[in-house]
């Protein structure tokens, strides 16, 4: 996995992160502008501020880079990158994830003993989502032995289960209410970072399918696993990693927006201090103390979005996310959806708008899958299956 035979540089070369930064910025189709950084620049600045790499211990060096990177992120966001996560794999090895709309990339970096006594920072970019080639690179962190090569190999070469396990795997999924089948025989595999559009007429089973995937409803037939785990029993772990935006607000009518989000934050173990910024992000006034029952339908939808973002879900299920929103709100929601790092499933009747933010589409008719393919082709597929409507 790791290019251990890569040539050694005698200073920490921030340019080795070039591939990661460029890939993400290119994917997001956003250009860096004044006052904001790309992921590449973030790492570069963190490395520069850390000072000469040779003077530091390998593990400490990594910790310092991470800390500096986090501090920089806290001050200003990255261009086109929604989130950067640093996962400590132990033995001075970090896995750095950069999430961009529709794509996510990872780089592993760490320290390794060399015969010449130099700790080498090696890295490998792996595309978690989407195509593209890996980028190799390296830099020197410090002199002097610190960790064994075997330890390095363990840390750097350990397979990450997150790279392969589908977020959703449904096989023959069916649900009925009494004698009526809401949907039947749905097979669906959703990988991390994929954006699926769920299309169908009224009563075609879209909402029920989303509710079954969210584990609110149990399937009548078929198998469903989320994040590699079956949803039979009590799927608490899966529920912690998903969010559902449904027709119901899912919040308390007597409480204001802040109180509602604070309850969810505490139950999810999240930090309530994020709430004001989240409310601002969805276009709500964080100082507004009106109870939810005084909110318009559009404002409730925005608050639902804030509640969803608070959970930092790896799977987002959105049932008619554009309903009840004004045009500006629709654009805002579309942008937020685009920036979501995990897998996304959108059920919407606004085909054109929803297709523009999704990669793949599944068309349901009378509760049965009728067509699946690229989201860009969904309008054509809909017209073919419903010629009377296009006429």
């Amino acid at each position: 996995m790791v290019d251990l035979d890569a040539p050694v540089l005698h200073h920490f070369d921030a340019g080795c992160f070039e591939g990661l930064g460029h890939a993400i910025v290119a994917d997001s189709q956003l250009e860096p502008h004044q006052g904001r950084r790309s992921l590449e620049q973030l790492v570069e600045v963190a490395c520069q501020r850390r000072g000469p790499a040779e003077d530091h211990d390998g593990v400490e060096g990594m910790h310092q880079i991470r800390k500096l990177g986090d501090n920089l992120l806290a001050k200003e966001p990255l261009v086109g990158v929604h989130r950067v996560d640093w996962k400590d794999l132990g033995a001075g090895v970090y896995e750095v994830f950069g999430y961009a709309p529709g794509r996510a990339h990872a780089v592993r970096m760490g320290a390794q003993d060399r015969d010449d006594g130099v700790m080498v920072c090696a890295k490998q970019v792996s595309h978690l989502i989407g195509g593209g080639g890996g980028v190799g690179g390296h830099g020197v962190l410090r002199r002097g032995p610190q960790h064994s090569e075997s330890a390095m190999r363990r840390g750097m070469g350990a397979p990450s289960t997150n790279l392969q396990t589908p977020v959703v795997h449904a096989s023959g999924l069916s649900r009925r209410f009494g004698r009526r089948w809401a949907f039947a025989r749905v097979d669906l595999t959703i990988q991390a970072g994929e954006r699926w559009l769920l299309v169908g007429g009224n009563g075609s089973g879209k909402t029920t399918l989303l509710r079954v995937i969210s584990t609110i409803l149990r399937p009548s037939l078929g198998e469903l696993s989320l994040f590699g785990q079956s949803t039979k029993g009590r799927p608490t772990t899966a529920r912690r990693r998903l969010a559902l935006l449904s027709h119901h607000a899912g919040l308390y009518e007597d409480l204001d927006s802040f109180d509602n989000l604070r309850i969810l934050a505490r139950l999810g173990g999240n930090d309530p201090r994020e709430i004001p910024s989240l409310l601002e992000r969805v276009g709500l006034d964080p100082t507004r103390a009106d109870p939810l029952r005084a909110y318009s339908a559009g404002m409730r939808k925005r608050l639902q979005l804030a509640a969803m973002l608070l959970q930092k879900p790896d799977l987002v299920l959105l049932d008619e996310p554009f309903a009840a929103l004004d045009p500006k709100g629709c654009d805002q929601v579309a942008r937020i959806i685009t920036e979501l790092p995990g897998a996304v499933v959108v059920a919407s009747h606004q085909l054109r708008r929803a297709a523009s933010i999704c990669d793949k589409a599944l068309l349901l008719g009378d509760g049965v899958p009728r067509w699946r393919g690229p989201a860009a082709d969904v309008e054509r597929a809909w017209s073919t299956l419903h010629p009377e409507e296009s006429a």
Binding site: L242, L244, L251, L267, G268, D271
Partner: protein, 232 residues
Amino acid sequence: MSVRPAPPSVFHQVLLVVQKDLLIEWRARSRAFALACFAVTVLLLFSFAVGPDIVVMRSHASAYLWLAVLLSSTLLLSQSFQVEVEAGALEGLILAPIEPEALFYGKALSNTLQLVGLSVVITPFVLALFDGSFSEPLYWHALVVVLGCAGVSAPGTLYAGLTARLNARQLLLPLLLFPLLVPALLAAVKATDLMMEGDLMGQLSSWVGLLACFDLMYWSLCGVLFPRVIDA
């Protein structure tokens, strides 16, 4: 991937539910005021129905206290789940996610606290309307009120959860709940009666013990059954 924060423990979740429920009731305190008015109205109706015989009224005072609590509890219990289902908040809680046991014990605890508050409010009315007085120390009354309210709220929370999504929930809740509460109600009425009339034979502790046993049974059984109710 980002390291997710550790979820709160079940005990912490219980406290969060209690805190949430009490906050909701505080923000919608007109409901609590209406509930207290309802309980006082029930007491007034009983006093009118029994008539002016002060001896009869005094001998029935404890029964009227607990009947007022019981009738008001159906409204309170029904309302406690109504706030959860009216905008799909229960789904939000389940996906938060919360353990069903924590939800049950949290809601049962907050319902108990509210019923205790209601009992404290209406007790002076009972004493005034029915010419009652306590011959035993007040801490016995406090203990009986807490145990009696806990005995009502545990099965009440279970059945309120069961009937929350039904159209006829206002009718079904008392139909299901009242027969189950008969033993606890009898023990609470008898214990309160002994406090008011005087415990000459030293029976009070036995009735309080019996009430505590019913509470223990209700709270453990309902805690086991509630996750199935939520699943359904």
